[in-house]
């Protein structure tokens, strides 16, 4: 066979015309050249020599650690209001607050129920120090669960008539850990555009898709839900994998308004969206017996997947919590980062929380007193002509912003600051402007002075506050060097 084929090849070469052979020879050489030639691909990386690498390392100049401008600064209006130095406080910030050595009537801190100086809470704290020491010296998993933690968890759950509570050492960590423990990449979260910063951080950490609806706008939420439903119908396979959540606040800290929870919870039931409610302000402040927004609006609590709350404000203790059904909350104990990987709440502060809750439970008139004050203050504040008041009448948080802007956000802020300090100096009343990291907030509201109402205020004291604010506004806003009212408004 070999011979024959060899012979055949030989024959064909001999018989072939010379031009044919030449052509084949050239073609053959060309293929070799194509294969052998060095490829030059402009998009491909050239390996760097050791010398070149060293050069790059030598020339690398990092930016300084303290920056004066970064990507966050570009295209964002506003500056850092936290730069305002409101002073250093001494002693407990109760009805009166001592700032840099002088006493002022306190309308700045969130002491709604006046529990900051409540002797029985402080007594309980001291007793717990004698029993448990200060720190818990470990996370909940590793001998950091003390009986008072369990007691407080049970008390909160019982107070709200829910199954289970997870206690956090810091109220900021509660909701910001809880959201990402359920919502993951690919899930959809519907959130109110004015949710507080802790929720915003939770939303970022979840890496889910966030759809913001207009503040307290049920129709806008319905529109978004319908859009989602449409998308689901188009892609039913994907729709099966997506979990949906809705996050709202009971009373919004940024606006003082109450959330239309009834409508939202019904929508959530209809569209099978899980609902999380942050009651940092409303827990212990609203509702006939202080059980929060669900009690006030008469929404069944089992329609809500979890409620988060703070013990640091109205309750005058420390820490935060997530409360809901066992099915939902138990998961926190394994996957809530701020729960699992953090030392637990110091036992004495949990003890204080138990005592505070007992007080609310046995004295519902405390809530009534607070609400009377809130309503009274609301009425009085609304009589001021230069300010726009934002806040539900029963909300202990009220924002006062300038009715007409004086040019820019910056000017407004300076004016409000001046008013706040004028009130402080002349009427011995402490009020503050809420601090925001304006470059990182999702939405910016007009600058405001925030009034935090508490139960201990008397009617005449609230009258004084309003008079002082009126006077201060008169003095500050009538300065000759101010720009006119009619100047074009800023983008805000």
């Amino acid at each position: 066979m070999l011979n024959i084929s060899g012979d055949y090849i030989y024959q064909s070469i001999i018989q072939a015309p010379i031009y044919h052979l030449l052509l084949e020879g050239i073609l053959f050489m060309w293929v070799i050249w194509l294969l052998k030639r060095k490829k030059i691909n402009p998009t491909e990386e050239q390996p760097l020599s050791a010398k070149e690498q060293q050069q790059i390392i030598d020339h690398f100049e990092p930016k300084p650690l303290i920056y004066n401008g970064d990507s966050r600064d570009e295209g964002v209006e506003g500056d850092e209001s936290s730069e305002i130095d409101w002073g250093t406080i001494d002693g407990p910030a109760g009805k009166y607050i001592e700032i840099d050595g002088t006493k002022y009537l306190n309308l700045a801190t969130h002491n709604y129920l006046g529990f900051v100086e409540e002797p029985s809470i402080l007594d309980e704290t001291e007793r717990c120090i004698r029993q448990y020491g200060v720190g818990s010296c470990g996370p909940r998993g590793f001998y950091g669960t003390v009986d008072v933690h369990l007691e407080l968890e049970e008390a909160i759950a019982k107070f709200l008539n829910l199954e289970e509570t997870a206690l956090y050492a810091y109220s900021f960590a509660a909701i910001s850990s809880a959201i990402p423990s359920y919502a993951k990449r690919g899930d959809v979260i519907f959130a109110d555009e004015h949710v507080n910063f802790a929720i915003q951080r939770g939303l970022i950490a979840s890496r889910s898709e966030i759809r913001y609806f207009k503040h307290n706008d049920v129709e806008d939420l319905t529109r978004l839900l319908n859009l989602q439903r449409k998308a689901d119908l188009q892609n039913p396979v994907k729709a099966k994998a997506i979990r949906r959540f809705c996050v709202v606040e009971g009373i919004y800290s940024k606006t003082g308004l109450i959330c239309p929870l009834k409508e939202i919870s019904e929508l959530c039931l209809e569209f099978k969206v899980r609902l999380f409610v942050d009651e940092s302000i409303s827990f212990g402040a609203i509702g006939q017996t202080g059980r929060g927004i669900t009690e006030y609006l008469n929404v069944p609590r089992e329609n809500i997947d979890f409620i988060s709350g703070s013990l640091e404000q109205g309750l005058g203790a420390f820490g935060g919590f997530i409360v809901g059904s066992s099915y939902v909350v138990d998961h926190q104990r394994i996957s809530g980062l701020g729960y699992c990987f953090s030392a637990s709440l110091p036992p004495m502060l949990a003890g204080a929380g138990i005592q505070a809750l007992k007080l609310i439970e046995s004295n519902p008139q405390l809530i009534q007193e607070l609400q009377n004050n809130c309503e009274y203050m609301d009425r009085k504040l609304r009589s001021l002509s230069v300010f726009t008041i934002s806040g539900h009448p029963l909300s202990p948080v009220k924002h006062m912003s300038l009715k007409k802007s004086f040019g820019s956000r910056k000017t407004d802020k300076l004016l409000l600051k001046e008013i706040a300090f004028h009130v402080r100096e002349n009427a011995k009343i402490a009020v503050v402007m809420p601090a925001y990291l304006e470059k990182e907030e999702k939405t910016l509201l007009p600058p405001s002075i925030r009034i935090a109402v508490n139960r201990l205020l008397k009617d005449n004291e609230m009258d004084d506050v309003v008079t002082a604010l009126k006077e201060a506004a008169n003095v500050v806003l009538s300065k000759p060097d101010l720009p006119d009212y009619d100047e074009p408004k800023s983008q805000n």
């Binding site: 407990p92 910030a93 306190n106 720190g135 005058g316």
Partner: protein, 534 residues
């Protein structure tokens, strides 16, 4: 002595660099020139094949039983009023919790009543439904506490710290009900900031009410999407959360492995950002001082050299090292004899050594000034509670020797002696011990979670409270029992624990180390600590 290329660490036993990468479980023995006494022996033996096989077999059986269970009783774990909703949990996560973790749940979240000091009182509980629910029996069990982070023994309900803390409750209340950027900047917090800066040895410090939040809320203010972060693979969850939410690009290097770190640094500097190759604006190295699950101590001098070489910034989380290591209790910088100013950002917590709660970030005046304005915790979170801050200040002053007694030094030395003694003894008993000889966290390898649970249960019966860490928190083969040393432990207590653990170890074949320690009797009072301290 062989010098490894590129970095400046030395191989004592002559392993060539290429081989280092191929043997994952062996970390080269390193000698630091500045501290010739400190040998970092962080060698861990590989798990034997039989152990590995059984560990996997165990999980497989549990999984099969679990799936069978789910198949025959699909309605066993369902929500009542959420019909038609999407399942809340990823299926594996939920499966693992129900069928694996549930069975061994009693070894975690053990409630105590009383001080988590040298002893702790465990509230006894039983389960009648295989771990779904627990009931308290009303019995209380006193145990030697080897589980709490109470390094210097400041978890006390009597004594000067508790006294000071209790005083402050009336003086300042327990909450300011305001953020620090508004009217919550209490004078005790200002004082605490200054004291911490002085203790750490830098210009300024900023404190935060929660240790976890110190990392997770401040890292996003330090980093942005123009930064590259090179992070140790064993970094704590709070760091990881902070890094993730910061938007920075994260690259991970092998635990405490300087070659891996240098490789990542080189890549970062030379190749810049993916796609565009524009240089990073800043490169950060993020490490911990003492790793709480590994018991290792960070190789700080080498990292500082690398940081200088590649012009990176260094962030050290001293959660477990501040107070607990170093001849003066000032953390890893003190331990390695490094000036703390060479580390750009020092972070730490007060939960462990100071028996309190919260954390700090310390650095230069300008840096902390910037952070004060930008920190999420400052602007949106309340400051630390007054009694918590008071506990930190009083215990810190004792450690610094400013209380007038030698109590601080005594505690630091006692802790160091306890750690070394306990470790050496464990090694002599042929347990597989992780980490650095000077670290107060002592993990022992137990492999699989059933052994882990057995250990925790049996040790509790013997009157010792220990902590177990297993899958999924660690790789499947690296389940660990962890002992946390405390200055309040006495030699007798340690001996009791060692005796009990040796028995448990015999039961379940834990004493399998192939290293041959010397048979010489270890005498507690002869254990050498902190040679330089007077």
């Amino acid at each position: 002595m062989t010098r490894l290329d590129g970095s400046n660490h030395y191989c004592r036993n002559g392993i060539i660099p290429a081989a280092v990468n191929k043997i994952p479980n062996i970390i080269t023995k390193v000698e630091e020139q500045k501290n010739p006494m400190k040998l970092v022996e962080e060698e861990v033996e590989a798990c034997s094949l039989t152990d590995a096989l059984f560990a996997y077999l165990y999980l497989t059986v549990l999984f099969i039983v679990g799936y069978a269970n789910d198949f025959f009783r699909p309605q066993a774990f369902q929500e009542s009023n959420r019909v038609g909703y999407h399942t809340l949990y990823a299926s594996f996560e939920s499966f693992y919790t129900r069928h694996v973790f549930r069975r061994i749940r009693d070894a975690w979240n053990i409630p105590i009543c009383g001080v988590p000091g040298k002893y702790c009182t465990i509230k006894d509980r039983v389960t009648h439904d295989n771990g779904w629910t627990f009931e308290f029996t009303g019995k209380k069990i006193d145990c030697i506490n080897m589980g709490s982070y109470n390094y210097l023994g400041f978890a006390e309900n009597t004594g000067p710290c508790a006294e000071a803390s209790s005083m402050s409750v009336r003086q300042s209340g327990i909450t300011t009900a305001s953020t620090r950027a508004e009217l919550g900047n209490a004078s005790y917090i200002v004082e605490l900031d200054r004291l911490v800066a002085r203790f750490v040895g830098v210009d300024d410090a900023l404190t935060c009410a929660m240790g976890f939040a110190t990392n997770s809320l401040n890292l996003p203010c330090i980093l942005d999407d123009e930064c590259l972060v090179i992070s140790d693979e064993k970094n704590h969850a709070s760091i990881i959360l902070g890094l993730r939410t910061s938007g920075a690009t994260i690259r991970v290097f092998k635990h405490n492995n300087m070659r891996s770190l240098e490789k990542r640094l080189r890549e970062g500097v030379i190749y810049g950002r993916p796609k565009t190759h524009a240089p990073w604006q800043k490169i950060f190295i993020v490490v911990e001082g003492v790793y709480s699950m590994e018991g290792t101590i960070v190789r700080l001098p080498e990292i500082i050299d690398l940081k200088r070489k590649y012009k990176a910034y260094l962030y050290v989380d001293e959660a477990h090292s501040i107070g607990a290591v170093g001849p003066h209790g000032r953390g890893v910088c003190d331990y390695w004899g490094v000036d703390p100013r060479q580390v750009d950002i020092l972070m730490g917590t007060f939960t462990k050594s100071f028996g309190s709660a919260g954390g700090y970030i310390a650095g230069t005046k300008d840096f902390i000034g910037m952070l004060r304005k930008r920190s999420h915790a400052q602007t949106y979170g309340g400051p630390m509670s007054a009694p918590v801050a008071e506990q930190i200040m009083s215990s810190m002053k004792i450690i610094m020797g400013e209380s007038g007694s030698g109590e601080g030094v005594r505690r630091i030395r006692q802790l160091a002696r306890n750690s070394r003694y306990f470790r050496q003894k464990l090694k002599q008993l042929r347990f597989v011990v992780y980490g650095n000889d000077d670290s107060p966290v002592i993990p022992v390898r137990v492999n699989m979670i059933s052994k882990l649970t057995y250990c925790v249960r049996e040790m509790r019966k013997a009157g010792v409270a220990v902590v177990g860490v297993g899958f999924p928190a660690t790789p499947i083969l690296e389940g660990k029992i962890r002992f946390c040393m405390s200055a309040s432990h006495t030699k007798e207590m340690l001996d009791h624990v060692l005796h009990a653990f040796a028995e448990v170890g015999d039961d379940i074949l834990l004493r399998v180390s192939t290293n041959m320690p010397s048979a010489e009797e270890i005498v507690y009072s002869d254990v050498e600590v902190h040679e330089k301290i007077q």
